[in-house]
Assembly symmetry: C2
Homo-oligomer: 143 residues x 2
């Protein structure tokens, strides 16, 4: 099948399939008589694996590791479990950070009556009057 059908079957867009090929996450696809990429069921299976891994928040690097283990019939499930558990821990850490932000902001919003006057505890909080600050891992804040 061609890339469009593989995209529909796997849930990974054609753009991303090409991208994943370029970065070596999926093997280079065979080409037909024209220069079109050609895919089979196994390729779609792999793409679907990638898609689900992304849905669970794994980074490309981690997915690379998972794919390697996936195709290794002599793998140790302990290694897989370690990756998964580490990722769960990262997710929970990120959740804690976001929760801290939400809680802090919630407190500030609660202190603001929203009456329409200029006086605003939220802005005061952002100024530095309070705000314990969640101190997120550098980079990537909101969604």
């Amino acid at each position: 099948m061609r890339i469009g059908e593989a995209a529909r079957a796997s849930g990974v867009s054609a753009k991303m399939i090409r991208h994943y090929e370029e970065i070596g996450l999926v093997p280079r696809a065979g080409r037909g008589s024209n220069a079109y990429r050609d895919y089979d069921g196994a390729d779609v299976h792999r793409l679907r694996f990638i898609r689900r891994s992304r849905d669970l928040g794994f980074s490309i690097g981690r997915i690379r590791d998972l794919l390697r283990l996936w195709s290794d019939t002599e793998r140790s499930n302990a290694e897989v479990k370690a990756i998964a558990s580490a990722h769960v821990a990262e997710l929970e850490h990120r959740i804690d950070q976001l929760r801290d932000m939400a809680r802090t902001l919630h407190h500030l919003a609660d202190a603001c009556d929203g009456s329409g006057r200029p006086d605003c505890p939220i802005l005061k909080g952002l100024e530095g009057k309070q705000v314990p600050a969640a101190s997120p891992s550098p980079g990537e804040p909101p969604g």
Copy 2:
């Protein structure tokens, strides 16, 4: 003061201060006899406001709005509260997504005995045997 001192005083790196100036988040700094940027207490105050906002997960765009309101003495605190509340909602949405991911992955990891054998429910789950999938907002997965 020069950019380095402003950076230390505000918690915003010199790199980022220049960047914020370029994108118009902070006004263009005055320059001394040399071409060095010059900052005063108000500038640092503003930078600190930005820093705290970032720590609470506000996007640059939102911070732009907040800064505008901050410097508007006739602002309505209702508008500020609306922005803050919307952001809290976004944060909580993101938290829910991450929590779904963590829960799903946790279940898979629980089903894996990690005994060292190749058989692995986690990989099976990623293949598509189960995985309800958290379906995150497109992009930006882990942290």
